[in-house]
Symmetry: C2
Subunit: 322 residues, 2 copies
């Protein structure tokens, strides 16, 4: 059997079983969430890692290297934001063919550096290795807020029936931006920039944990799939209302027929899904309530205005499937 | 200009300048050492990352996947050891073609898991991405011992003229093992295993910082090159005596003519170089004194029994050069 038959999530589950769940008493959050959480002295350390591979996550003939660098760090910052944490410092592993132009890597690092300044992250080290494709793997460490010695974190497993589901920003713009990029729209188009220059919602994640929200995830694979991850980890269902999804005017104008599908399955928006009691969620600024957690099988259901389910051919991104 | 003209270390220096040295007041050790050190509350966190790439660091037709997994984590443990720290938890990024057999990745994770148990490391998370080659990128976090609130660490920059240079174990076996592997010697040969199953010297690193040693590095690129890194960062020279280098009987028997060159330039031994005042170094068990730090240009000089310099065509490994 090859790994594409397992898919990304099947493979991760299989490999996680091999390394064992025993862990350490200091491992507060292990595999399966946006970041790991580790108790270190009186602090709670977060750690996450995300890679961008040439030809898979970006096309060298279209992408600007500055944007690749920006996105490589910012997607990691989003993972820390999705746990309610504050990013601290990063390690960067650069894999590249020996014939890569040095100027391209300069540009990649300028983009990394811009993101590092934006989010207050120190680049503390890394590794350089030779490879057939360029790839950038970032590990990012962060810290959790605390109350009475307990870490305040957003877990995928903390959704409870009756919780409302809210989202920051708008959905689908990144996938729309990718389509426009593929059609030759220039890199400075505002929708294209939603794909190439995503923003990490660090303030929203922090505001959420302070407000008493305990469940969250960032939209990286696609709304339906990411809500599905929460459902699986929380063993509950979710109902989302299509009419309530926040879609930008730009998205509706560029893709009037596909706007909803892009918003539900597109991924890479890096908006935060925040899930909790309505009173807690209502204290987080600038979010839109789009559904609720319900008892039932662990899956996300999207309803139209008449209460009928809307389905799409693909729910979202799987790293090992086309 | 392509990156091979800069070489690994030239590229790292260039990119480090772009991200800037400003850092944070909590960044105790930044780019250029075996691991970064970050002050988190009352603790000192260490973080390092190392990647292994198919066709570069291992040949899939010769390597056993268990060994690749073992080595991917153990080389990171060695970086923490080379800072005098204790490893805590790791993140693992697996890049792989979708057609990779799941059984190969199972084996890789069994090897990772063996190393994790050996060194008391929890596997806390990671990422899976699609790529043309298999690669495993590990990030490992650790903690530094402390005395009076100050971290006890082994820095590359802390060598001083008059310090002695000592090494754990024996040198050159890994490079000899690689040659034997390339000639078809089976994987269970003890010298081959020095290449495929390196050992991280965590106890030696800890003993060294407790004994008052403040300078160290692990031998990953090759003895002369790694001592050269210390010379560069400490702005001092080093003299090594060929006659004092610890060579195993197996190495001398297998490569009687090349044993010294393999020991000096082979790399991947993951033995620790410990550098400090003779009284401090003498308190570390099971090390061999092989030279000393001297005033002068920042380079490592290898002397024969008559006091003449011995030179080799290559000093060691550069990731971006053949």
């Amino acid at each position: 059997m090859d790994v594409s038959q397992l898919g990304e999530f099947g493979l991760i589950e299989r490999l996680t079983r091999i390394v064992g769940a025993e862990g350490s008493p200091d491992l507060v959050v292990g595999p399966g969430d946006d970041a790991a959480v580790w108790r270190l002295g009186s602090e709670y350390l977060m750690a996450t890692t995300d890679a961008m591979v040439e030809g898979v996550h970006f096309q060298p003939e279209r992408a600007r290297w500055e944007d690749v660098g920006w996105k490589a760090l910012t997607t990691n910052v989003s993972d820390i934001a999705a746990m309610g944490g504050t990013p601290l410092f990063a390690l960067v592993t650069l894999a590249l063919p020996p014939e890569t132009p040095a100027e391209a890597m300069d540009a990649l690092y300028r983009g990394l550096s811009e993101s590092a300044r934006e989010y207050g992250v120190a680049i503390a080290g890394g590794d350089v290795v030779s490879a057939a494709q360029v790839s950038v793997t970032v590990s990012l460490m962060g810290r959790a807020a605390q109350r009475d010695g307990e870490p305040l974190v957003l877990r995928r497993s903390a959704a409870r029936p009756g919780d409302v589901i809210a989202i920051t920003g708008t959905l689908g713009d990144s996938a729309a931006g990718l389509r426009l990029l593929q059609r030759g729209v220039p890199a400075d188009d505002p929708i294209v920039q939603r794909h190439t220059r995503p923003v990490a919602r660090v303030e929203s994640g922090r505001a959420a944990v302070e407000a008493g929200v305990r469940c969250g995830i960032d939209v990286s694979d696609g709304l339906l799939q990411d809500v599905g991850h929460v459902c699986g980890m929380s063993n509950a269902g979710a109902v989302l209302r299509a009419v309530d999804l926040p879609l930008s005017d730009g998205l509706r104008a560029a893709f009037p027929d596909d706007a909803l599908e892009l918003a539900c399955t597109g991924g890479e928006d890096y908006e935060l899904l925040l899930i909790g009691p309505a009173t807690a969620v209502s204290r987080v600024p600038d979010v839109t309530v789009i559904g609720e957690i319900v008892k039932g099988p662990p899956r996300a259901t999207l309803l139209d205005g008449a209460g009928s389910e809307i389905k799409f051919a693909h729910a979202g991104w799987d790293a090992l499937r086309p």
